[in-house]
């Protein structure tokens, strides 16, 4: 808890956070201007931009802060002081993760509340699918942050950030590994690619922005399975991160 609290306080002082939040606020508020030439689709466009801002800027916060989370402690040698206390290494990793997730939860909640208020001002109350989309965005960010923390324990911040960013983009495109053209049927490549479909984190599970923006109901059962998938994958990544940090030669 102490590590998490310190991480939260430290992250709040990071200027990158405020730059990203400023960009998020600008894109949310500016989306109304795009709606002026959309032939009556302005509310839909504002909803799309609100949800996309939460997802993209939340992911950027995860990547920029998460990828240097453990590395920074090692680089500044503050880690040795911390680990000299009665604290196990995995507790330290999980504490750092919890601190960053608290920050992400606060920023996501701030963006969701301000988006909801903005939509209310524009005459469209956020509905259940909007809240479901925010919840799944949080789960996506939890997974992305876990990957960033894992890489922070294993590689340099720049390399880690690049890998997490690539995983973020490709994680939304795993559908291509499943929807293969018919000429792949019965081939070894099809089996391999299908296996890859289950190995790579499937971030499109958490993308229900289209449904939320168009007011289409999403079954709670789907949301439940997606949350479970995200929680399990996150737990797996954190376990590997703890393992990597336990075995790291400091």
């Amino acid at each position: 808890m102490i590590v998490a609290g310190n991480t939260l306080r430290e992250s709040v002082r990071d200027k990158v956070l405020y730059v990203l939040l400023l960009f998020a606020a600008t894109s949310i508020l500016g989306s109304k201007a795009l709606g002026w030439i959309s032939v009556g689709q302005d509310i839909k466009i504002v909803r799309d931009f609100c949800l996309a801002s939460m997802s993209v800027f939340g992911a950027l916060i995860s990547i920029f802060i998460g990828a240097s989370l453990l590395y920074k402690e090692m680089d500044k040698k503050t880690l040795y002081t911390i680990l000299s206390q009665p604290l196990r290494r995995h507790e330290f990793v999980l504490g750092k993760y919890a601190g960053l997730m608290a920050l992400i939860a606060v920023t996501l909640a701030a963006m969701a509340v301000s988006s909801g208020a903005y939509l209310l001002v524009l005459g469209s109350a956020p509905d259940v699918s909007f809240l479901q989309a925010v919840l799944l965005t949080f789960m996506k960010l939890a997974l992305v942050t876990a990957l960033a923390v894992l890489l922070s324990a294993a590689t340099s911040p720049i390399l880690g950030a690049l890998i997490v960013f690539s995983a973020y983009v490709f994680g939304h495109a795993t559908g291509v590994l499943r929807d293969l053209p018919p000429h792949f049927d019965g081939t070894f490549a099809k089996g391999l690619l299908e296996a890859a479909y289950y190995v790579i984190p499937n971030l499109s599970n958490f993308s229900i922005q289209s449904e939320a923006a168009n007011g289409v109901a999403v079954a709670w059962a789907y949301v439940g399975w997606a949350v479970l998938y995200g929680a399990l994958y996150t737990a797996a990544l954190l376990a590997v991160a703890c393992l990597a940090f336990e075995r790291k030669d400091l």
Binding site: S38, V39, G40, Q41, I45, A173, F206, S207, N214
Partner: protein, 347 residues
């Protein structure tokens, strides 16, 4: 010797801001110079060879990209409507947008209106609406627009009335339509005042918040006023023929026959005249029809080349090979299409 006095912090900040503003201001003429030197694009560069793949690689931003593409589509439609009126890329843009966000109801609805009312491509509009009805089954607007297309664009086709009734029924069956849709369904069944129904639709659109839709509705209402005048003139010609045994030679003779000094002016700046066999005509409507037919022929020629690798040898071959019943006649009396098989241009 004394050290030079340092500028005060506030003044220094002001100087930096001034320098930044000057540098920024200088970028504008630089940009304009660059724009002058770079030749403008000859056509829209929005051809996306496989939007299904694009959907996968948007990093979860497909709905936002669909929004941006729709905005571009609205701008493109407005520009084309005021210019060449060929709408070459309209269908591609609309279908790509729906592929990126299959539940984007507004694109199905307004895209179909653009395709049918501006590009005069009711087939593409109906394809779009049918896709939309599957993706957004509870939207009354989509079957309603399908009914209007049957009523307005396919008027006279043997199955148009049956399909209008069918789509009206679908709109009512969603359980969500406003009162005027239910009224439309009942009025249609009674087969009363179909042009009044069309006019009512455009009048409702005239109250739209969107400028493009208001412009479209205003134009359509003006065209309807012209068509009403032409219809009245046709009746006068018939009366003239019944009285004199022959049609009038000139418009003035027709007006004198009815004791009218002049016709109401064409709101779009055109003129009325009598064509072959004293058929009342209007230059605005003929120009509009010519632009539509020309656009359709050019699209068909392009499609022919895309599928067969060469331009058709003649417009007759184009009609034969692409399922058209015949080459449409030039709307203006005494004029004909000029086709160049070497370049595929239709004028």
């Amino acid at each position: 010797m004394t050290a030079p006095a340092r500028a005060r912090p506030g003044r220094a900040a002001l100087l930096w801001l001034l320098a930044a503003a000057l540098c920024y201001a200088a970028t504008i003429p630089a940009q304009r110079a660059a724009d002058r030197l770079r030749p403008p694009l000859r056509d829209e560069v929005l051809y996306l060879p496989n939007e299904k793949l694009l959907t996968h690689f948007t990093a979860g931003l497909a709905p936002v990209i669909a929004d941006l593409l729709w905005l571009r589509c609205v701008q493109y439609t407005a520009l084309e409507n005021r210019g060449a009126r060929s709408f070459t890329w309209l269908e591609q843009m609309i279908f790509t947008t729906t592929r990126l966000d299959p539940r984007f109801k507004g694109v199905y609805r307004y895209g179909a209106i653009f395709l049918s009312a501006l590009r005069a491509d009711s087939e593409a509009a109906m394809r779009l609406l049918r896709t939309g009805m599957v993706e957004v089954p509870d939207a009354w607007e989509l079957p309603y627009e399908a009914a209007i297309i049957q009523l307005v664009n396919r008027r006279g086709a043997p199955d148009a009335e049956r399909l209008t009734a069918f789509y009206c029924g679908m709109a009512v069956a969603t359980g969500r339509p406003p009162a005027f849709v239910a009224e439309l369904a009942s009025r249609f069944q009674a087969k009363q005042d179909l042009s009044g129904i069309e006019e009512g639709m455009w009048r409702r659109m005239l109250e739209s918040d969107d400028k493009v839709m208001r412009e479209l509705a205003a134009r359509k209402l003006q065209e309807m006023a012209i068509l009403r005048n032409l219809h009245t003139m046709e009746k006068w010609v018939e009366e003239y023929r019944a009285r004199h045994g022959a049609p009038p030679d000139t418009l003035e003779a027709l007006l004198a026959f009815k004791g009218a000094k002049a016709l109401p002016p064409d709101p779009l700046g055109g003129r009325y005249f009598l064509g072959p066999e004293a058929k009342p005509m209007n230059s605005t409507m003929l120009d509009t029809e010519t632009a539509r037919e020309l656009g359709m022929l050019r699209r068909r020629v392009e499609e022919f080349r895309n599928t067969r690798g060469a331009f058709p040898g003649s417009l007759e071959e184009l009609a034969r090979e692409t399922g058209m019943k015949r080459v449409p006649e030039h709307p203006w009396p005494g004029r004909s299409w000029k086709y160049n098989p070497a370049t595929g241009t239709v004028e």
